[in-house]
């Protein structure tokens, strides 16, 4: 293992030295590192397949889908950044397939494929066999028992388990996919995490309305205080509704993005400092961060799912709370779980 590590580091260093030696414009190279990193973690309209130890990229152009909401709104405009597709505000809905879309689809296909393989086992045998089936079942049981049932409760938990399982595995697969060469992390994109958080948000509201009724749901927005204070409470509660998905969005996005930037930056350090010996330090560090990223991929999938379950659980509890203590119209238990939830969001 140790020898393998040393060999790997040596190879990396040699590669770095080669790259550094081949480059005659070292100054330009070190300035390009930031741009290179940003280019790599951002979404783009084409897939670039890099060929190792060469400067060639094989670009795959992805289909461009532009839906004009107003006639002629999607005319491309020439700016100093090149061709730019008009924004949604200008009336052009841009549904183009991008790098992150492709990665997301790849993750979805891998997820569905692997789950179909491992869930379609002999139905008469209740005990799972093999690593895949056991691993999946372990994770499924973890999500069901530790996330769904613990946060939502024994009665309502199983109803939301499939959603939580899908969220967990979908995010996990997208996170892990970004750790493979030539792949990208779709969860390192704000749009993706925003859409996922919107799903949790909608489900949370549906769960609230479902368990408390529309009246109870709206009453909850008043915070259960005297009507004269409603003009304070309603904006606060309303804002509270949106802080949760916002927290979900930003946490997942920032965590997934940051790890990749750190890895790229550590490797970019070799080129910025312009000496191959830097690889001896930065490559092991990058490997450490890579392993950390592997861990973070699981942790962030877990955190997203856990917070989703927590929010849904709070909404569900709102209904039970409303039914059981209707006459008190207090905020007792609900307020506690609410505060707890907020503390959790802020703390993590």
């Amino acid at each position: 293992m140790r020898k393998a590590m040393i060999l790997l580091v040596g190879l990396m260093a040699a590669g770095a030295a080669y790259a550094a030696g081949a480059d005659t414009h070292q100054e330009k190279e070190s300035e390009d590192v930031a741009g290179y990193i940003l280019h790599h973690v951002s979404d783009s309209r084409e897939l670039e397949i890099e060929v190792p130890l060469s400067r060639n990229h094989i670009p795959i152009h992805l289909p461009e889908i532009l839906i004009p909401l107003k006639a002629g709104a999607c005319e491309k405009q020439m700016t100093d950044h090149g061709e730019v597709v008009p924004s949604l505000g200008a009336g052009c809905l841009d549904l183009s397939i991008t790098k992150h879309t492709v990665m997301m689809w790849l993750a979805a296909v891998l997820l569905i494929g692997s789950l179909l393989i491992w869930s379609n086992r002999d139905k008469t045998k209740l005990v799972p066999r093999g690593t895949g089936a056991n691993l999946f079942e372990m994770l499924v049981l973890f999500v069901r028992d530790e996330l769904a049932i613990k946060n939502i409760g024994k009665e309502e938990g199983p109803r939301y388990t499939p959603y939580l399982l899908t969220a967990f595995f979908f995010i996990l697969f997208m996170n892990l996919l970004g750790l493979f060469p030539w792949m990208a992390t779709a969860t390192g994109n704000l749009a993706v995490t925003l859409a996922l958080a919107v799903c949790t948000f909608v489900l949370t509201q549906v769960a609230g309305i479902r368990s408390a009724g529309l009246g109870g749901y709206l009453a909850h927005l008043t915070g259960g205080v005297h009507w004269s204070l409603w003009f304070i409470m309603i904006p606060v509660e309303f804002l509270g509704l949106f802080t949760k998905p916002f927290a979900l969005t930003v946490r997942l996005f920032a965590n997934m993005l940051a790890g990749h930037i750190v890895i790229f930056f550590l490797l970019g350090l070799i080129f910025m400092l312009g000496h191959p010996a830097v690889a001896l330090v930065s490559v092991p560090f990058a490997m450490g961060i890579y392993l950390l990223e592997l861990f973070v991929a699981f942790v962030q999938a877990y955190v997203f799912t856990m917070l989703s379950a927590l929010f849904i659980g709070m909404s569900v509890a709102m209904g039970h709370h409303g039914h059981e203590h209707a006459e008190e119209h207090g905020h007792g238990e609900g307020a506690h779980s609410h505060d707890h939830g907020k503390a959790h969001v802020l703390g993590s």
Binding site: I65, T98, L126, T161, L165, V198, C199
Partner: protein
């Protein structure tokens, strides 16, 4: 590379509506597909297994309790049987003893009776024999007397005389 510059220059904080759309479509599709094809079967399998394990444990507990109850019952039954057997044995011995004693008593009595009747018989036979011997003695003495006297006397007179004589003989009453 200051942070504001990076944020301004980069596209990674840009939120593309298209990507939101595709994420929603993909996520909802994946959720529906997995719900139907994966989570349903896996969760039902897991629940079935949990139920089976729970029922197996329950059944094992019940069977164990039953077995313990049975064992206790068996033990008491065996103890009872043993006690009964001992009781029976004791009673039997008593009965046998009693029976033996009864038998002994009976046989002793019978033997006594037999002995008594035998003695009586002997007594009878003896007295008969004695009477016979006496009669014979009378006859013999009469013959002897007649021969001695050579004179024929009145038979009945003689006989009375002889009997008188015999009666006067000392009776030897010996045992046997």
């Amino acid at each position: 590379m200051l942070l504001p510059n990076v944020l301004a220059a980069s596209s990674f904080v840009e939120v593309r509506p298209g990507l939101i759309f595709w994420t929603l479509v993909t996520f909802i599709t994946v959720a529906i597909v997995l719900r139907a094809k994966a989570w349903g079967p896996i969760l039902s399998l897991v629940e079935e297994r949990e139920k089976q394990i729970a029922s197996s444990i329950e059944a094992a507990k019940r069977e164990r309790a039953e077995a313990e109850k049975l064992l206790a019952e068996q033990k008491t039954a065996i103890a009872e049987a043993r006690r009964d057997a001992q009781e029976m044995l004791r009673r039997n011995q008593q009965e046998v003893e009693k029976f033996r004693e009864e038998l002994m008593a009976k046989s002793r009595k019978e033997a006594e009776e037999f002995k008594a009747s035998a003695t009586r018989e002997i007594e009878e036979q003896k007295s008969k024999a004695i009477a016979e011997v006496k009669a014979m003695a009378v006859d013999l003495s009469m013959e002897v007397a007649s021969k001695l006297l050579n004179e024929r006397l009145d038979d009945s007179k003689h006989r009375a005389l002889a009997e008188q004589f015999v009666q006067g003989l000392p009776v030897k009453q010996g045992r046997a």
